[in-house]
């Protein structure tokens, strides 16, 4: 407690730039869709020229600077013996206090613009809602390390496992640190980016507004092409199969382009990913533009999730997530920074990584499947619906065209196949202490968790399930809900009983 005195301090003046960039970034990110709309409006409308655009942008940037200055002026933090207090707020003043022993993680992040200034952003994560998270947007890295050492000291004292080594280890990992337990090469990260599902989420968000633009573009291209005589439109019109092939080719190449883009993004985001094992925690460092450091305490780790997406299966790629307690369910969709993600694990190294994470051998369990009625129920209901609609289509269409009916029936067969794959993927394995649940379709996701960390458990029985003595089990864990459908009722009951027994006979608190 030498450098960090107990008085209110302002952020260094060099942090204003950081606050500014940070604020603009967040503003843009939160209003991305508005920007998109505005951009389209701008492009469409003739009365708005570049001058108006520049004026508007300048105004926004200037306001941002003003806001950043005021924010900096009003931001004060104070490090006490056992807690950190932060006062901030533009219009209303907010005071937050975090006791060190409540802190689960100290996250460091150093975006590229902070590097020359020697500043880092520090985030203190506490179990509980994400809004209560406290962050210092830019303090000197020396001070940040002192703060972290104080916090880990406090947490160590609290759990009765203080270790002096930990205080030292944070200093210069990059130069002298311990060897990484896992590191991902650029190729691994590229593959991870290609396989991760984020591009499809992006596509879903921007697909609709982008499609208008693409449509107008494509039609003008087609006109140009036909005008230039490179492509004979009449020929295409005569050959629908060729046209379909062309369109299909376009779609595939577009998807490949997106995947490559996503791969590049992953390289930037997770550049030089290194997973380090320290005495009581894991630590990861990564990032090209924004160097981040995250940690995960062994005692807080309550579930491990390993995922192979459908594309990942083709490339033999996995990624793993270490879950820790906290209400992270809400912000999991887009960029949940609270997850401890290990990207780009290829099949050969999976076992090693998982062994590191869980501290024991990852033995492939004998998966218990779910009841075949899961499959037959879906099969019969889906088929009934689709066959009925196929018949109606056949009956309603003039001249009783056959091919739409056949298309629907073909689709039906495809869905039946998918249902079968999905049913086959469901599996669970339970030893005395842990449970693993596997699900997926073409890819797979395996979650392993400590039975004693269950927050709540329940059994749901639909009328169909009741007739056949089946039940669905749902288990609420600190990071979210896991469920297994269509277990024999006796099995579901037994698992529920074991879960409760385990949870209640272990003395530890669930946090």
């Amino acid at each position: 407690m030498t450098e960090v005195g107990a008085f209110w301090k302002a952020l260094p003046i060099s942090a204003v730039g950081a606050l500014y960039i940070n604020g603009v970034q967040r503003f843009v990110r939160e209003n991305l869709i508005v920007f998109f709309g505005a951009g389209t409006g701008f492009a469409v409308s003739d009365s708005l020229g570049w001058r108006e655009f520049g004026l508007g942008a300048g105004l926004v940037l200037l306001t941002g600077l003003l806001v950043a200055l005021i924010y900096h002026r009003r931001f004060r933090y104070r490090v006490d013996e056992d807690s950190l207090r932060v006062r901030k707020g533009l219009f209303e003043q907010q005071e937050l206090k975090v006791r060190f022993e409540r802190v689960q993680n100290v996250g460091f992040s150093q975006p590229i613009y902070l590097r020359p200034l020697g500043l880092v952003r520090v985030t203190l994560e506490t179990p509980g809602a994400a809004q209560t998270e406290v962050s210092l947007p830019g303090i000197a890295s020396e001070e940040a390390r002192t703060l972290r050492d104080m916090i880990s000291g406090a947490v160590g004292r609290q759990t009765g496992a203080a270790d002096s080594q930990d205080a030292e280890s944070g200093r210069h990992e990059r130069q002298t640190g311990p060897p990484a337990a896992f590191s991902a090469s650029a190729a691994d990260l590229f593959k991870y980016g290609m396989t991760s599902n984020q591009i499809w989420i992006l596509l879903a968000i921007f697909g609709a507004p982008a499609s208008n633009w693409v449509e107008s573009r494509v039609s003008s291209w087609v006109e140009q092409l036909s005008a230039s005589g490179l492509l004979d439109m009449e020929l295409l019109r005569g050959a629908p199969l060729l046209l379909a092939l062309l369109v299909g080719l376009l779609i595939v190449s577009f998807a490949l382009l997106l995947m490559a883009l996503s791969g590049l993004l992953a390289i930037v985001r997770f550049h030089d990913y290194r997973l380090l094992r320290e005495t009581d925690r894991f630590k990861s460092r990564f990032g090209l533009l924004d160097v981040r450091e995250k940690s995960l305490k062994l005692t807080k780790l309550h579930a491990i999730e390993i995922v192979q997406t459908a594309v990942g299966r083709l490339l033999g790629q996995w990624h793993a997530i270490g879950h820790q307690a906290g209400a992270a369910q809400l912000d999991q969709a887009m960029n949940d920074d609270r997850r401890f993600l290990i990207p780009g694990i290829d099949g050969d190294r999976l076992e090693e990584v998982v062994r590191t994470l869980r501290g024991g051998v990852w033995d492939a369990p004998d998966w218990e499947g779910i009841h075949p009625r899961f499959r037959s129920m879906l099969w019969s209901r889906i088929s009934l619906m689709l066959v009925a609609s196929a018949l109606i289509v056949w009956f309603m269409l003039p001249a009783h065209l056959v091919w739409p009916t056949l298309v629907i029936l073909g689709l039906n067969l495809l869905i039946l196949g998918i249902v079968h794959l999905h049913w086959r993927r469901w599996g669970y394995a339970i030893d005395g202490q842990r449970m693993r649940i596997r699900s997926g379709l073409i890819g797979q996701k395996i979650v392993e968790f400590d039975l004693a960390r269950c927050q709540q458990a329940g059994i749901r029985i639909s009328p169909y399930q009741r007739r056949h003595k089946l039940a669905s089990l749902s288990i609420r864990l600190p990071h979210g809900e896991q469920s297994i459908p269509y277990l024999p009722q006796a099995v579901a009951d037994q698992i529920l009983n074991i879960l409760l027994y385990r949870t209640e006979s272990s003395a530890e608190d669930g946090l």
Binding site: E101, P127, G128, A129, Q158, T159, G160, D280, L298, T299, L301, H302, A303, I304, A325, G326, A327, Q329, L330, L357, R358, G359, G360, D431, G432, Q433, R434, E448, F449, D450, A452, R453, C454, Q455, Q456, A457, G458, I459, R460, I461, S462, P463, R466, R476, P478, D493, Q494, L496, N497, I498, L500, Y501, R502, T503, E504, S506, E508, D509, G510, L511
Partner: protein, 187 residues
């Protein structure tokens, strides 16, 4: 007890025959006035639906002939009655049980569910009662676990007294547990 083996690995056998079965818990059914309460609340919420066409009949400038409004009201009465019957049966299916280490609630007529919440995971307990529930001497118990924004388990149809007793008991358990854990961490 941890997921990571090195920090706290113990793998005792689960004594399957000794693990208590939740079916063995004695489920308490809802308070006797709960059925009357559901009927009245159904009437209050859906009654205006049926009454509206009849009122429209009485209003002179609404062009709705008498027999038409009667038909509409009659048509609306059917779902209202069905809802009432469903909720009447539903009241009979509800139940809750308090064991030493957990609280279990069951509900559902066709889609049944049983939810068990370990007492060790409860962070916060509250009882609430609306005006109609108050008239019938009823209350509902809301249980919150860590991290959740909404109640994780809501038991409805409790008698006021037993809801309050339950709340007091659970709060006492939470207090004891917190005292224990802080004692452990202070050692």
């Amino acid at each position: 007890m941890n997921l990571h083996e090195e920090t706290g690995f113990a793998n005792p056998m689960v004594p399957l025959d000794k693990v208590p079965d939740y079916h063995a818990a004695e489920f308490e059914s809802v308070a006797s006035s709960f059925r009357r309460y559901t009927l009245i609340s159904t009437l209050i919420y859906t009654g205006p639906l049926v009454a509206a066409p009849l009122v429209a009949w009485a209003v002179p400038f609404v062009p709705l002939a008498g027999w038409k409004s009667l038909v509409i009201a009659g048509g609306l009465l059917i779902p209202v009655v069905l809802v009432g019957v469903y909720r009447w049966i539903d009241a009979g299916c509800r139940g809750w049980a308090l064991r030493r280490h957990d609280i279990i609630a069951r509900a559902g007529v066709l889609w049944r569910n049983v939810t068990a919440l370990p007492v060790a995971r409860i962070q916060h307990v509250e009882t609430t009662h609306g005006p109609l529930e108050r008239v019938h001497g009823l209350a509902r118990l809301k249980l919150y676990t860590a991290g959740g924004l909404t109640a994780d388990l809501v038991v409805i149809g409790l008698e006021r007294a037993s809801a309050d007793r339950l709340r007091e008991y659970l709060v006492e358990q939470i207090r004891k547990r917190d005292a224990e854990t802080s004692q452990i961490s202070n050692d």
